[in-house]
């Protein structure tokens, strides 16, 4: 921090009054709900709730499915982002719209769409179930698919932006020296976008961790199998407020720690 400041002195900026006022209101929009949550946390019961079977099962399932979703998002999303950034084919903007649609779509709609496609009687899930007796809904695979559906767009958008900002001369140089295209991608392109790739993976992971609507619609709600932390919060809200608040706090803390840790990487390109 000190070193950076000496290298690049920053002029103190005077913030215009109205900007400051609206900025503060903007912060309050986020800060007040979290404060409200903090005031409701049952601190004395926190330990016993956090170690209860419902929470431990849901936490484990949430971590498992969100990490799996982030990994799958990276495997599928990075090549897709590269293609979107580097090639020009007819209908490219349509493809980009399709793969980022879940960012603006209500997750419940996404869950219903998944059901119509991959449900036991879905357009594609039906034949799959007939042939293999493998059924996605009501299984952890359903949770992971729902997570990928809502989370991968965040990775695609982040990584595609990085590919676009990359100076192509480095890749051209590697090609000139005889590297094969896939090697150039693996050894030159990917390392150069590493910060954005990490940011994309963590964003996708965080989105998957908080996923609720598509999950409950597509995968159902069963403790130990499909009940992730957000679903546990929803059920507990109607049964035991304290418990719901405690689980929410766990979600907030986990997400906050990761986002703060990531923040530094984000701005250091």
């Amino acid at each position: 921090m000190g070193i950076r400041r000496s290298v690049k002195p920053r002029r103190p900026t005077r913030v215009p009054g109205p900007l400051l006022a609206l900025g503060v209101v903007g912060v309050l929009v986020f800060a007040l709900p979290f404060l409200g949550l903090l005031f409701r946390v049952p601190w004395s019961r926190l330990g016993s709730i956090a170690t209860s079977a419902v929470v431990v099962d849901a936490l484990w399932l949430s971590l498992l499915s969100s990490v799996a979703a982030a990994v799958i998002s990276a495997l599928l999303g990075v090549p897709l982002a590269w293609i979107l950034a580097r090639t020009d084919f007819p209908g490219r903007s349509f493809v980009r719209a399709i793969v980022t649609l879940p960012m603006v779509l209500p997750p419940v709609v996404g869950g219903a769409a998944l059901l119509f496609a991959f449900g036991r009687n879905g357009t594609f899930g039906g034949p799959l179930a007939d042939a293999t007796s493998f059924v996605l809904p009501f299984s952890i695979w359903g949770v992971i698919l729902a997570n990928v559906f809502v989370a991968m767009p965040f990775l695609i958008v982040t990584v595609e932006g990085a590919f676009r900002n990359l100076d192509p001369r480095f890749e051209e140089a590697a090609s000139t020296y005889g590297a094969r295209p896939l090697d150039v991608f693996r050894r030159v392109t990917l390392p150069m976008i590493r910060p954005s790739l990490l940011a994309g993976i963590v964003l996708a992971w965080a989105r998957a961790l908080g996923e609720f609507g598509a999950t409950i619609t597509f995968a159902g709600n069963l403790p130990e199998r499909t009940q992730t932390l957000p679903l546990a919060v929803f059920v507990e809200l109607q049964r035991d407020r304290d418990s719901a608040v405690a689980i929410s706090l766990i979600l907030v803390v986990v997400s906050l720690v990761v986002l703060v840790a990531l923040r530094d990487r984000w701005w250091q390109r």
Partner: protein
């Protein structure tokens, strides 16, 4: 890059600040208009919070009530316990109709201004399957089969409690695949045939017009009474709506949708 950007911003800073003042003023005006409009409550609609199982019946009741009285009804359907939490959190509501009295009394205990509770209907929890019964479910005992996809309500909503009562009475350990937030969630999964069997209300089966079939009813039956109450006693329109539900016209509609008179 950053340097040139900030210089540019300085140049138009004044203009932006001027615009912001206008935006803030417009927002303030909007707020004032909203406050003023919410004070004149002469033709305010009646806000009715009703259990998810009442979706069809109360939709029709509301239409009939509006035709008769000219008073609009705003309906909010969800699992009874979700509605209870909304009411306890101070939601604006005139009438509450829940799927059991436990939820109703919990709401009434936590918020002042609840009128007397009246039982408006009785409903029964049944074992239902998609028409055709592809997996050949014949009794509640079949639900122990883990190969069957079974859905019930979460234990926090009335239909979830009833499902557990049903299982206990039959002495069966059901292999449940999803605990859904309200009964209509289970119904829609049955309609999609994502579930092979589900525990839903008799009225839900009636509402699906033959798309679902009742396989078994408990003996003795597993039933629940639906209480209804005015939340703000000062509101005449709210009381009129409750009276309409309890009157002949309202009761006839409820009966047509598979509910039984109390």
């Amino acid at each position: 890059m950053i340097e040139s950007g900030s210089r540019h911003a300085d140049g138009v800073g004044g203009a932006i600040a001027g615009k912001l003042h206008r935006v803030v003023a417009a927002l303030a005006l909007l707020g004032a208009v909203w406050v003023a409009s919410s004070c004149g409550s002469s033709d305010e609609p009646v806000d009715v919070f009703a259990a998810a199982s009442l979706v069809d019946a109360f939709g029709e009741v509301a239409t009939a009530f509006t035709e008769e009285s000219g008073v609009e009804v705003r309906l909010n359907f969800a699992g009874s316990s979700i509605l209870r939490e909304q009411i306890l959190d101070g939601a604006s509501v005139d009438v509450f109709a829940s799927a059991n009295s436990v939820v109703m009394e919990a709401a009434a205990a936590g918020r002042a201004g609840f009128g007397p509770r009246a039982t408006m209907a009785v409903n029964e929890l049944v074992l239902a399957v998609p028409a055709g019964n592809a997996r050949n479910v014949n009794s509640i005992q079949d639900l122990a089969d883990p190969g069957l996809f079974v859905g019930v309500c979460a234990a926090s909503v009335p239909c979830g409690d009833l499902a557990q009562d049903y299982f206990a009475q039959a002495g069966v350990t059901a292999s449940v695949d999803t605990f859904d937030p309200d009964v209509r969630f289970v119904v829609s999964r049955l309609l999609d045939e994502e579930l092979d069997a589900g525990m839903v209300y008799r009225s839900d089966v009636v509402a699906t017009n033959g798309a679902l079939t009742i396989v078994e009813r408990a003996e003795p039956p597993i039933v629940t009474s639906y209480p209804i109450a005015v939340v703000e006693p000062a509101d005449d329109d709210a009381q009129a709506f409750v009276d309409f539900v309890l009157g002949d016209a309202g009761q006839a509609i409820l009966e047509r949708w598979g509910f039984v008179a109390p």
